[in-house]
C-alpha cells in the first residue's frame, strides 16, 4: 500500500562551513531549490524578496530562502545552529548551518557534534585561507571523518581547471594531519547551479560527480572497526513486579539474546534474555536502535550504567584527559566543581589542570591558566565517582560529555575524552583500623564542619570565637580555622583571583575534613563568596555533617563597621578583587542557619548555633 518507495539509504547529516560571502547561503538555497524542497508559495515570496533585497540583479537570490541569521545575531538572539531539511528520491538530508564569527567555534562544534560529513566552502578567487584550517580543525576534533571541499564561484575564474586543481592540491596537503577518511573536491557555482545538482557543461575537465550526486551516495556511516557492544542504560522499565527492562539506545556494536554482557563498574556479568520492542521481540539490535533489554539475572543496574560486551569492556576511571570547548561567558575556573553529563550519567567533576589551549587558526599549543568563551583546551578532569567511557575518537556517544554550571545551570563546555588517567586508580585508599566515628565517640560528640560564610566584617570571626568558647565550656572538642590566619601559612601562595579563591577553599575544605576525621567539631570563618565553592567544601566534608551558616549583615553595615579598614582601601582601588566592592558575594540559597547580626549580640547568635548543633545531635 505504500506508494512511496522506501529510500534505501540512511539519513545524511552534514555541516556546512565557510567564511562570510563564500556563498554558503546561496549553496544551501540552491540545494533546497534543486531538490524541489521549495514550495510554490515560498517561491513567490522569494521572488518578491529578491526584487527588494537581492544581491543578484534580475535573478532570484537563493540565499534569501534562509533566515537572516546574521541579522538575528545583531538583535542579540543567540542562534548556534539552524537546521534545514531536504530530500531527493535517493536520500534524506539534514543540514546544520552555523552563523556568526565570534561564536563560531562553539556554534560549529554544536553543528558538527551530530554531523557525519562536512561541506567546506571556499571561494575560488581566494583559495585556502586561515579560516579553512580553523574549520577543518574543529571538524576533525569533533570526529567528522568525511569532507567535501566545494570550490565555489568558479564562474568568476572562468571555470579554470588549474585554479581548481591548485586549491584541491593545497587543501590535501593542508589536511594530512587531520584524521579524515574521505575527501572529495567539487568545482561549483552555487549561484548558477554548475555541478550542484547536475554536472556542468562549463567544466568538461571535471570527471567527478555533481555535489548532490556525491551526497546522495557517499557512505558516511560511523562504523568503528571491531567496536564492542555499548548500551548506556537510560530508563528502567518496571510496569509490574514481573517485568524489569533496561531501556536505551545502542551506542556501538550489536547485541542478541544469549549474549554475555557486563555492567561497567560493578563488573557483574549476565546474559541478555530478550530484546523487547513495541512491535514484538527482535533477534538483534544494532547501533542507533532504541530498544529495551531484559537480563537473565536479577542484578543491580540503574540509569547511567553502561552495559558492554563481556569481552570488550569500556574504560572506567575517575580521572581522564579531554579536549574541552568552553561555551560560557565566564571563563573556566580549574578546581571549580561542575556537573559532568556523559550519556545518561551526571556526576560532579572538576578540571584539575589545564595542559594547554589550542590556537584554532594554527593548531599551535599555547600555555594557559584558563579558557575563555570559544576557546579550546586540553585538560585533566576529575570526577567525584568513576565513570564508564570510551575514547571520543572511538565512540562519540560514550566519549563526549558536557559540563554544566552548578549555579546557573548553563551548559559551560563540551568535552571529548582522549584517554583515562590510570595514575589515580593506582593510589588505593588505605583502610584504617580506627574510624572517624570511633574518634568522635571517644570525645562524646559527633564530628561536624560548621562553615560560616559572609562578607568581610559581617561578624564571622567574632561569632566563631564566641561559639568555640561555649563549646570549650561544655567540654566539647573543637578547632577554629580562621581565613586570615590560614592565608599566612598553608595558603600563603594564593592570591584573590577566582582561580586562587577556588584553590583556597579546596584546601580549607580538605583540612576541615581531616580535622573532622579526627573527631573534632571544626568551625571555619571564611568569606567563601561563591556558592559552587561552598558546595565543593560540603562534598569534600561528606559524610561528616556540614552546617552552612550564613552570617547575614548588609553590605553598608559591613562598610560602616569596617573593623580592619579594608573597605576603605578597597574603595580607593588599593585592594583589587575585594568581595562586595569589585568581586561578587553569592549568598546561600538554603543555609542550615541564617544569622542576622543587626541588633543581635555575638553571644546570642553563638547560643542559636549551639542550639542547632544540639538539634542535630552533634553536642548534647
Amino acid at each position: 500500500m505504500d506508494s512511496a518507495p522506501a529510500a534505501g539509504r540512511p539519513l545524511l547529516r552534514f555541516l556546512t562551513c565557510g567564511s562570510v560571502d563564500d556563498g554558503k547561503s546561496t549553496l544551501i538555497g540552491r540545494l533546497l531549490y534543486d531538490s524541489e524542497a521549495i514550495l510554490a508559495d515560498q517561491l513567490e515570496a522569494l521572488e518578491r524578496e529578491s526584487k527588494r533585497f537581492g544581491t543578484t540583479g534580475e535573478d532570484i537570490d537563493l540565499a534569501l530562502l534562509l533566515d537572516g541569521l546574521e541579522d538575528e545575531r545583531q538583535q542579540g538572539i543567540t542562534i548556534d545552529v539552524a537546521y534545514r531539511f531536504f530530500a531527493t528520491k535517493r536520500r534524506s538530508f539534514i543540514v546544520a548551518d552555523s552563523p556568526g564569527h565570534e561564536q563560531y567555534t562553539r556554534n560549529m562544534a554544536t553543528g558538527a557534534s551530530t554531523a557525519d560529513l562536512a561541506l567546506l566552502l571556499v571561494d575560488a578567487r581566494k583559495g585556502i585561507i586561515a579560516q579553512t584550517r580553523r574549520h577543518s580543525l574543529i571538524c576533525s576534533l569533533l570526529g567528522i571523518r568525511h569532507v567535501v571541499l566545494a570550490v565555489n564561484k568558479l564562474d568568476l575564474v572562468g571555470f579554470d581547471k588549474a585554479t581548481f586543481a591548485a586549491i584541491e592540491a593545497e587543501y590535501r596537503r593542508y589536511v594530512t594531519d587531520f584524521d579524515f577518511r574521505s575527501l572529495q573536491a567539487v568545482p561549483i557555482s552555487a549561484r548558477y547551479g554548475d555541478n550542484v545538482a547536475t554536472r556542468s557543461a562549463s567544466t568538461p575537465w571535471y570527471a567527478g560527480p555533481s555535489l548532490l550526486e556525491y551526497l546522495e551516495t557517499v557512505d558516511a556511516e560511523r562504523r568503528e572497526a571491531a567496536a564492542g557492544f555499548r548500551f548506556p542504560v537510560q530508563w528502567i522499565n518496571r510496569p509490574n513486579a514481573e517485568f524489569r527492562g533496561f531501556a536505551g539506545t545502542v551506542a556501538a556494536g550489536s547485541v542478541a539474546p544469549g549474549d554475555a554482557v557486563v555492567v561497567t563498574g560493578s563488573g557483574t556479568t549476565t546474559t541478555i534474555k530478550e530484546i523487547v520492542t513495541f512491535d514484538g521481540p527482535v533477534i538483534r539490535a544494532d547501533p542507533g536502535d532504541a530498544v529495551t533489554l531484559t537480563l537473565r539475572d536479577e542484578i543491580d543496574v540503574t540509569r547511567g550504567d553502561l552495559l558492554t560486551g563481556a569481552k570488550s569492556r569500556a574504560e572506567f576511571a575517575d580521572q581522564f584527559a579531554a579536549h574541552v570547548i568552553w561555551m560560557k561567558d565566564e571563563p573556566l575556573v580549574p578546581g571549580r566543581s561542575y556537573w559532568l553529563k556523559i550519556g545518561p550519567r551526571t556526576v560532579p567533576a572538576t578540571v584539575t589542570s589545564l595542559k594547554h589551549r589550542i590556537d584554532v587558526d594554527t593548531g599551535a599549543h599555547i600555555a594557559a591558566r584558563t579558557l575563555a568563551l570559544n576557546e579550546i583546551g586540553f585538560c585533566n578532569l576529575s570526577a567525584a565517582r568513576p565513570i564508564a567511557f570510551d575514547r571520543y575518537a572511538a565512540n562519540r556517544d560514550t566519549g563526549g560529555f558536557i559540563l554544566i554550571d552548578r549555579v546557573s545551570n548553563e551548559t559551560a563546555a563540551a568535552g571529548m575524552i582522549e584517554f583515562g588517567l590510570h595514575r589515580a586508580t593506582n593510589i588505593h585508599l588505605q583502610a584504617l583500623n580506627v574510624s572517624p566515628s570511633d574518634r568522635a565517640m571517644l570525645k562524646g560528640q559527633q564530628a561536624a564542619v560548621v562553615w560560616l560564610t559572609g562578607l568581610s566584617g559581617s561578624g564571622k570571626s567574632t561569632i566563631a570565637n564566641a561559639l568555640e568558647s561555649k563549646l570549650l565550656a561544655m567540654g566539647a572538642h573543637s578547632m577554629l580555622l580562621d581565613g586570615d590566619n590560614v592565608r599566612h601559612g598553608l595558603n600563603r601562595d594564593l592570591g584573590f583571583t577566582d582561580t586562587d579563591r577556588v584553590e583556597n577553599i579546596r584546601r580549607l575544605g580538605e583540612v576541615a575534613k581531616l580535622m573532622a576525621d579526627a573527631g573534632l567539631i571544626v568551625i571555619t570563618a571564611f568569606i567563601s563568596p561563591f556558592r559552587a565553592d561552598r558546595q565543593m567544601a560540603r562534598e569534600i566534608a561528606a559524610p561528616h555533617a556540614f552546617i552552612e551558616i550564613f552570617v547575614d549583615t548588609p553590605l553598608d553595615e559591613c562598610i560602616r563597621r569596617d573593623p580592619k579598614g579594608l573597605y576603605a582601601r578597597a574603595k580607593t582601588g588599593e585592594i583589587p578583587n575585594f568581595t562586595g566592592i569589585d568581586s561578587p558575594y553569592e549568598a546561600p540559597d538554603a543555609p542550615e542557619l541564617r544569622l542576622r547580626t543587626i541588633g543581635a549580640t555575638a553571644d546570642t547568635l553563638a547560643e542559636n548555633l549551639i542550639e542547632t548543633l544540639r538539634e542535630r545531635g552533634i553536642v548534647h
Binding site: 500500500m1 505504500d2 506508494s3 512511496a4 529510500a7 539509504r9 540512511p10 539519513l11 514550495l39 510554490a40 508559495d41 515560498q42 534562509l66 533566515d67 541569521l69 542579540g76 538572539i77 543567540t78 542562534i79 548556534d80 545552529v81 537546521y83 531539511f85 530530500a87 534524506s92 539534514i94 562553539r106 554544536t110 557534534s113 551530530t114 537510560q234 530508563w235 522499565n237 518496571r238 510496569p239 527492562g245 531501556a247 539506545t249 520492542t277 513495541f278 512491535d279 514484538g280 521481540p281 527482535v282 542507533g288 536502535d289 532504541a290 529495551t292 561555551m327 553529563k341 545518561p344 556517544d397 563526549g400 560529555f401 558536557i402 554544566i404 545551570n409 548553563e410 551548559t411 563540551a414
Partner: protein, 304 residues
C-alpha cells in the same frame, strides 16, 4: 515477526532519536506532560511514546488545550483515542476567556490565540506543576523554527528567552532546572511533513479523518476554504456553504484553518500528493500571516 524491518532507514533513525528523547524526559523531569493537539504530529508523538515505554504505558498524561472551537471530529477522535489506549487525558479551557466570550470570529484570531491557547497553556502547566511539556513542533514548519532547540528552556513565567537557550551537542541534553523554570521538548524536531506522513503510512497510525479528502460544506474566505463545522460560524449576506472535495493539512480552530482542494483520501495518497506539493503547510494557517515574524513573538509569550 516485527514490522521494524519495513521502516525505511531514515524513518527508523528519526524514530529511534525521538524515542531516546522521550525516555530522557521521563528519566530527568519530575512531572512531564505530553501536549496533545489531536493533529497528525500529536498522533505520531503519541505512537512514539507508546513505543518508547512499552510494555509500560507512557509515564505522563496527555494535555489538550481546548479552545472550544476545534472541529467536532477532532474532539470525537481525541476522546476515542484516549479511551482506546487507556492513557490519562487532561483537558483544559481558559475559564476566564470562556466567561469573557473570547472567540476567533469577533475577538480576532490574535486575541483568541493569546487568551485561549497561550494563556490557557500557561494556566494548565502552572495548575498541575508540569516541569516539562512535550510537543510535536518540527523545525521544517517555518523559517524561525529552524534554530529551535530540542529541549527549549523556559524561564519562570514560561517566557522563551532566546539568549538563554543552551547549546545541544550530540544527544546530550542539559535538563537542569531551578524552581519555576520549565522545559518544552520537541522530539519531532528533525522530522519533515513528508517524514510524518510516510511514518503514518508505515506504522498504520490513526489520524483524524479531516486530513483526508471528502465533500465538506465550505465557504471561500481570504483565499482559503473555511469549513462550516457548526452553526457558530456567521455567514455573510449572500454567502452560502457549498460542498467541495477538500482536506486539511493542519488542524486548529475551524474558523482559522483553511482547507485545500484535494483528492487524497488516504495517508498513502497524501504522501504522493506531498511529493508534488507546491504549497507549504502553513499556508492554510491563518494565525501566521497576521504579522511578520509573528511566530517569534508568540513563542516569547509562551505559545507552543
Amino acid at each position: 515477526m516485527s514490522r521494524r524491518a519495513a521502516l525505511p532507514p531514515h524513518l527508523r533513525q528519526l524514530e529511534s532519536e525521538a524515542i531516546g528523547i522521550l525516555r530522557e524526559v521521563a528519566a530527568e523531569f519530575r512531572l512531564p506532560v505530553l501536549l496533545y493537539s489531536i493533529g497528525k504530529d500529536s498522533s505520531v508523538l503519541l505512537h512514539l511514546a507508546l513505543k518508547a515505554f512499552y510494555p509500560a504505558k507512557p509515564p505522563f498524561p496527555l494535555l489538550h488545550i481546548d479552545t472550544t472551537w476545534k472541529f467536532r471530529e477532532m474532539i470525537a477522535f481525541r476522546n476515542a483515542t484516549a479511551a482506546r489506549l487507556g492513557v490519562e487525558l487532561i483537558v483544559h479551557t481558559n475559564p476566564e476567556g470562556l466567561a469573557q466570550g473570547i472567540n476567533p470570529i469577533t475577538s480576532g484570531s490574535a486575541l483568541h490565540t493569546q487568551i485561549m491557547k497561550t494563556e490557557a497553556l500557561r494556566q494548565a502547566l502552572d495548575k498541575f506543576g508540569f516541569d516539562a511539556a512535550i510537543g510535536g513542533a518540527r523545525r521544517d514548519e517555518e523559517k524561525s523554527r529552524a534554530k529551535e532547540r530540542i529541549f527549549s528552556f523556559r524561564a519562570a513565567g514560561h517566557s522563551w528567552e532566546p539568549r538563554h537557550q543552551r547549546p545541544e551537542l550530540w544527544h546530550l541534553f542539559n535538563t537542569k532546572l531551578r524552581p519555576g523554570e520549565s522545559m518544552r521538548v520537541f522530539p519531532l524536531s528533525n522530522w519533515t511533513e513528508l517524514d510524518v506522513w510516510q511514518y503514518v503510512v508505515a506504522e498504520n497510525i490513526e489520524v483524524v479523518p479531516l486530513y483526508f479528502a471528502k465533500d465538506r460544506p465550505v465557504v471561500r474566505r481570504g483565499g482559503v476554504w473555511i469549513m462550516v463545522d457548526d452553526e457558530r460560524l456567521p455567514l455573510d449576506p449572500g454567502e452560502t456553504p457549498e460542498l467541495r472535495r477538500v482536506r486539511f493539512r493542519t488542524l486548529g480552530c475551524y474558523p482559522l484553518t483553511g482547507a485545500i482542494e484535494s483528492d487524497a483520501a488516504s495517508p498513502a495518497d497524501i504522501v504522493t500528493e506531498l511529493r508534488g506539493a507546491r504549497q507549504s503547510e502553513r499556508q492554510g494557517r491563518l494565525i501566521d500571516s497576521d504579522e511578520d515574524s509573528s511566530m517569534e513573538r508568540k513563542k516569547r509569550e509562551g505559545y507552543f
